[in-house]
Amino acid sequence: MANKNIRSLSSRKGLDDNLFENIAELSHKNAPKKDFQKLAKRFLVDDSVIVGTSSFYDFTREENRAKKIHVCSGTACMVAKTQTNLQKNIEKHFKKEEIGHAACVGHCHTNNAFMFDDKTFSAATNEELTEILSMRGQSGTPNNSYNIASNTTPVLTSKIEKVSNFYALSEKFKANPQQVIQELKTSNLRGRGGAGFPFWFKLDAVIKEPLNATGEETQKYIVCNADEGDPGAYSDMYLLEHQPHKVLFGMYMSGLSVGADTGVLYIRGEYPDSIRIVSNAIQELKDNKLIGNFKFKIIRGQGSYVCGEETALLNSIEGLRPEVRVRPPYPTQYGLYGKPTVLSNVETFANIHWILENGGAAYASLGTKLSTGTKLVSLDSFFNAPGIYEIEMGTPLATVFNEFGKGVKSDIKAFQLGGPLGGIIPMHKIEELSLDFESLKSNGFLLGHASVVSIPTDFPMIKFLEHLLEFTADESCGKCYPCRIGSFRGMELLQKAQNEDYKIDQHLFADLLETLEIGSLCALGGGVPLPIKNGLMYFKEELNQYFTSN
């Protein structure tokens, strides 16, 4: 495992005087070089460590430090074509160099999205924009409302009546971690962050971590992956902002079970409201003494998609460059600061309370045999009723789109389901699919995080594919060769084919996709070929013109 020295030095100050937060703070202040050097000295690392980290993130790198407003460049806003107009309006108020970008701020249901004054907004007109800008500095939560509904027993979307009663459940399971694991095993809860890994397994592995050299219990951590980076996805945002206690309880209970006294929420910086709401919820727990000595810590992301990848996320918290780590060792063995760590997605944690309250068997009776429970789906603004829907696994996709989404507003040729690495499903395949891991996988798509982005018929598929490769190239951590160079060259090829009299050698393109798919270290480089191959397969006619014929 690389970077053990830097990791260890960072861990000396740990979460309280956190290296990453220090770097972010100096960057936001646009602090002079000597302050960064002082920070390096204080952490006993060389300057390159600080520069390496600060130059990585959208919100900390030097060229972005003067930005005052960030226009969403996410997929949903792109296909909705709202951003050119928004950009124009914003330019009326800001100098060009003050305008930056953010990759999805969770307004996929209304678009026209941007981030300003540590809040996120949508503004379709200059009047709306002017009003928003005039409210700078005022507290309060800007409007970000969308439909919420469920087609089954609400596990995630049900209301919590009284927080203290809600947490009382922990008393029952506190002394019996094995029972927690057993219920979770019975429930067959699988990770909601994309990979679908059985959750109980992580708890089990971390419990079994041996004592440290001096015979004491090893430091262990719970980490919640709230970096929901998939453009088009805002279901974690929903949970963080509307159901924070479901998430926090899941982490707390996990901590009690494995012997971890600290839970870290890594929340993306593009969700400033989520950060505020969760931190209020944590304060509420502390004030009411509901979580004993358990500590929560929120780490704010600084604009990087790859930080959603679990090992990059751990490096990020540590203040290291969020380059993906090799595995094994897995985070359960060597996680945050090299300590055993249970790391899972927001939605995964949010299920735990219901499972323990109602029993693993009750949960397993929801959904299909292999995909149990419910899944939050986020629908974009092309639907007549965009919003977050809690859908029982195995529900036909058509039901979700028609009964909940109420159908689409305009001509749509395909949907990308599950984020930028999720499949591109042509309209005609929707009828054949249901919302669960197996149905999507066996048809060459993915459940992923179950966000839905619609691709309008008049939106050129080549542009969409270019966008995916550009996104990957932009967000690539730059560690492994296939992704670092390959995604960039792929993007260049698609651009050249559109802008010049140039046809892409189809063998070269096939080699490139294979290299990305089987050669990449993580699922960013490894995942992007899937939607591209879907596109090439289902939209051949549209795309043929850009490729050589043999």
């Binding site: 690389a2 830097i6 390159s48 050299a213 967000e475 730059g478 492994c480 390959g486 260049e492 050669g519």
Partner: protein, 904 residues
């Protein structure tokens, strides 16, 4: 457990990666190509060309995995050369080449292929089908550093340099900036090598698989006539070096990865500072001073002159009017011959070495405590220890490769305690830094022992079973007044207590000490108290523990082993003992040996002033520059009838000589050096002697012969034969032979059958039968009690990484460009009170004299303490150092000098 390679089952080792497994089974390090992997670095998984297909059943569905970081599992089927894999590798290379200079794909005609060029040739060099796109080919090279240059247009982003910097050297100078395709290697705050805090170790250059990082000698791609492995001359670590020679000239040095001592690493001195060897300043002809001026003479004339004079002086004043100073830089064989010449051919025990000015107290103190004056353990034990107690040493500067290993351990979180008046970078990293007032070593050690006893953390079983006189020691420290010692040392007793507890509670704790222990009035006592600490906690006789002196010069250990001491002969036998005299006489084939022990260096100088010593024969030492109180030394030298010096360069000492003999450097001769962990390693001749020089050993044999003693191994210096003789004389080197030394040397004791010893006093079985506790009170140095009032500042001296001692060699290399001057570190407030600005030159003065030196504001020293180095002749710091020395061994107290300073 078994796994399959191409469907054939083999046993694998638990934890082994697929890459190692396949390489091992196929016995081919190229069985699978790699780019980002280096055996010495953590696996990283960036290049992906090491990918293989794996399946859970024979010819079953496969997954592609990077073999370098994927462990083999039971019944795994590995297919490492399938069409799919070959295609993948080639496609990756194509991507890499799309951002790589086309004229660097193949090696230039007169150059060796780089590892990258070899790898792509192995995979097959594809046509790049990608149209020209964005690239990094325009990046400007960085030529700011005297040794290292970067040309990142050739960088393939393998991160090896970044990892080497962090994982081998323990620095983090190199980093990566940006992300995705825009990632870029940076130095420090994205600046040049020169501006960065790079310590020039060259680890990054050595691991870089391309020429993106090279040294100015372009060592990586040299096609050498031959490459000779030898042992570095610059410190007691004893790094192995691979020296490349073209047309009889040294062209570059790499560190062999197979070297046990340095595992492919060195510091900048070993790797880069070799240009001194054919510097125009090298002495090339023997010279005799005639009418106050040196004249070149023939070897015969020089030898005859020396022999004639020595015999004359001996006849007139007796053998004891002759003395010799041997050198810890010379080989064992040469040191052995030198002491033999003085003892057997001249007939006096007046032989001493430069260990006198450094580690004599270590040898003495450890002999008193344990019975052997050498490191109890090996450096590799650092991998097994739980705590490191570093006392009075800055190995990052003086023993860089060991220092880097210690730094790694500190950073990774081993319990770490540093006692040092200076806030060194290791002190900064340590859990506990006890920043004592210089000279209070005994006091702080008494405090530590006090708390260990008080907290009941002693290992009573070890004490009872293997040691003596513990009770007296215990009674002594138990009753000490901690408040008083707190005031004396300037370190809070609460902190000392915590450090003591941390040390004593560690399962395995290793002590290291340096000249900050020995170069003191109470030097030997401090060594014995350090020994106490190890004994009272049972930290002796197992791995990861012990007392491990960091030897100053490269062969301090060896010189002492060879008998370069006035009281002990080769193999540490007491020369006052008639039995031993008989033994030596027999071995040396002479009638009798001198009866009484001889003079130590300071005594020789005093004897010269008194007129009792008439001749001094010096091998490779700049006594005038390096010994304390220069004016005193000069006075002594002026009183001598004959001074003979064997040297590489003109020095302050040779200038005062009557005869100067030009010596061959260590590149020009064979022999052995013994490093700080008792490891005897070969020095192999790399090139022929420069000019008309001769190896020191040859000169000694020649002079000896003219004195009437013919070296039995022949009149030509032949290291291998001298070793045979040494093995015959020194009991604990019985099994030593040139052949057996092989590539990695042997650690003494070496048994007759050639087995060597990693660790001494195993399980508490001390060499002297039983370990002995000693106890001492702190005593203020006379330097302070006599001069402290008049000169209220304490000056302490140390070394910098770039230079070696008086700098005769390193100042004649580009190291001088990196660090051109000595400076005086002063606490800013002390300087400001005197109205002195940063970088201003001041006059610093003591009871002995004064020198001028530029100051540097530094918070690494406490108020009242000053620190400087002694590498540059311009400053000549020994004009102000004093004559106080360790009571037992007379090692000078360089570390405590009462001084004051003022504006000029």
């Amino acid at each position: 457990m078994k796994a399959f390679i191409n469907n054939i089952a083999y046993d694998f080792i638990t934890g082994e990666t697929i890459l190692d497994f396949v390489r091992r089974i196929e016995n081919n390090k190229n069985a699978i190509p790699t780019m980002c992997q280096d055996n010495r670095l953590e696996n990283f998984g960036s290049c992906r060309v090491c990918s293989v297909e794996v399946a859970l059943q024979k010819d079953g569905p496969t997954k592609t995995m990077a073999s370098c970081h994927t462990p083999v599992t039971k019944d795994l089927y590995i297919y490492h050369n399938t069409e799919k894999i070959k295609r993948l590798r080639k496609n990756i290379v194509e991507l890499v080449l799309s951002d790589y200079p086309t004229d660097k794909v193949f090696p230039a005609e007169d150059k060796k292929a780089t590892p990258f060029q070899e790898t792509i040739a192995q995979i097959g060099i594809p046509n790049v089908r990608y149209p020209e796109g964005e690239n990094h080919l325009e990046l400007e090279p960085d030529r700011s550093h005297p040794y290292i240059k970067s040309d990142l247009s050739q960088c393939i982003n393998c991160f090896r340099c970044v990892r080497a910097c962090e994982e081998i050297q323990g620095e983090m100078i190199l980093g990566m900036s940006g992300r995705g395709f825009a990632t870029n290697i940076i130095k420090g705050f994205d600046e040049t090598f020169d501006e960065s805090a790079c310590v020039s170790c060259g680890a990054c250059v050595q691991t870089c698989p391309t020429e993106a990082l090279t040294d100015k000698f372009e060592t990586k791609t040299l096609i050498a006539d031959k490459t000779v492995r030898t042992t570095c001359t610059y410190c007691g670590v004893g790094c192995q070096l691979d020296v490349s020679v073209i047309d009889g000239k040294i062209r570059g040095i790499q560190a062999p990865e197979t070297a046990e001592v340095n595992e492919g690493h060195t510091c900048l001195k070993g790797r880069f500072a070799f240009q001194f060897y054919d510097h125009p300043d090298r002495l090339r002809e023997p010279m005799i001073k005639k009418n106050g001026k040196f004249e070149e003479v023939s070897w015969d004339e020089a030898y005859d002159f020396i022999a004639h004079k020595l015999i004359d002086i001996k006849n007139r004043h007796g053998a004891d009017s002759i003395g010799a100073i041997s050198s810890s830089r010379a080989t064992n064989e040469e040191n052995y011959l030198m002491q033999k010449m003085i003892r057997a051919a001249i007939g006096t025990n007046n032989i001493d070495g430069c260990a006198r000015v450094c580690h004599a107290p270590t040898a003495y103190g450890m002999q008193e405590s344990f019975g052997t004056g050498a490191a109890t353990n090996s450096i590799e034990d650092l991998k097994q220890t739980d705590a490191i107690f570093l006392f009075g040493a800055n190995p990052l500067k003086a023993h860089p490769v060991t220092g880097a290993k210690i730094k790694q351990a500190f950073m990774k979180g081993v319990t770490s305690i540093v006692v040092d008046p200076i806030k060194t970078s290791l002190a900064e990293l340590a859990d506990f830094h006890l920043q004592i007032r210089p000279g209070t070593n005994v006091a702080i050690l008494n405090m530590i022992a006090h708390y260990i006893i008080k907290e009941n953390l002693v290992n009573q079983h070890f004490i009872d079973a293997y040691t003596e006189k513990y009770e007296e020691f215990k009674a002594h420290v138990e009753n000490l007044d901690m408040d008083e010692l707190e005031t004396l040392t300037g370190v809070s007793k609460a902190l000392v207590r915590k450090a003591a507890i941390a040390y004593a509670k560690s399962e395995r704790a290793m002590e290291f000490h340096g000249l900050g222990v020995t170069e003191h009035f109470q030097g030997s006592k401090t060594v014995m108290l350090l020994s106490n600490l190890a004994m009272m906690t049972g930290n002796i006789g197992k791995h990861g523990v012990g007392l491990n002196p960091l030897r100053g010069q490269n062969n301090v250990q060896g010189a002492a082993d060879m008998g370069v001491q006035p009281h002990q002969g080769a193999g540490y036998m007491d020369v006052n003992n008639p039995e031993n005299q008989k033994y030596y006489a027999e071995k040396y084939g002479v009638e009798k040996m001198p009866e009484f022990e001889g003079l130590k260096i300071p005594e020789m100088l005093d004897a010269a002033i008194e007129g009792k010593l008439k001749a001094l024969y010096i091998m490779g030492e700049d006594t005038i520059m390096t010994d304390p109180n220069t004016n005193h030394s000069i006075k002594a030298f002026e009183n001598l009838e004959l001074i003979v010096v064997q040297e590489l360069f003109m020095t302050a000492t040779t200038r005062m000589a009557d005869v100067v003999l030009p010596a061959s450097s260590y590149f020009e001769k064979n022999g052995t050096f013994t490093n700080g962990e008792r490891r005897v390693q070969r020095v192999n001749k790399v090139i022929e002697p420069i000019g008309n020089t001769k190896p020191d050993g040859q000169m000694v044999i020649d002079v000896m012969s003219r004195l009437g003693y013919d070296q039995p191994t022949g009149l030509t210096y032949d290291a291998a034969k001298v070793i045979e003789e040494i093995a015959d004389v020194i009991p604990f080197m019985k099994g030593l032979s040139w052949e057996r030394l092989g590539e990695n040397g042997l650690q003494w004791p070496i048994k007759e059958d050639g087995t060597d010893t990693k660790m001494l006093h195993i399980d508490g079985h001390f060499k002297k039968g039983i370990g002995t506790f000693h106890h001492f009170d702190f005593e203020e140095s006379p330097e302070i009690s006599s001069h402290g009032e008049k000169y209220p500042f304490i000056l302490t001296t140390g070394r910098e990484l770039e230079h070696y001692n008086s700098g005769t060699m390193t100042r004649r290399t580009d190291n001088q460009t990196i660090l051109p001057k000595d400076v005086l570190e002063v606490h800013p407030r002390d300087a400001k009170e005197k109205g002195i600005k940063d970088n201003e030159t001041v006059r610093i003065f003591s009871d002995r004299g004064s020198v001028h030196v530029p100051i540097k504001y530094s918070k690494n020293v406490k108020r009242g303490v000053l620190r400087t180095t002694f590498h540059q002749p311009e400053v000549f710091i020994n004009l102000i150092t004093g004559s106080v020395g360790d009571k037992e061994t007379m090692t000078p107290e360089y570390k405590v000098v009462a001084v004051d300073f003022e504006r000029i």
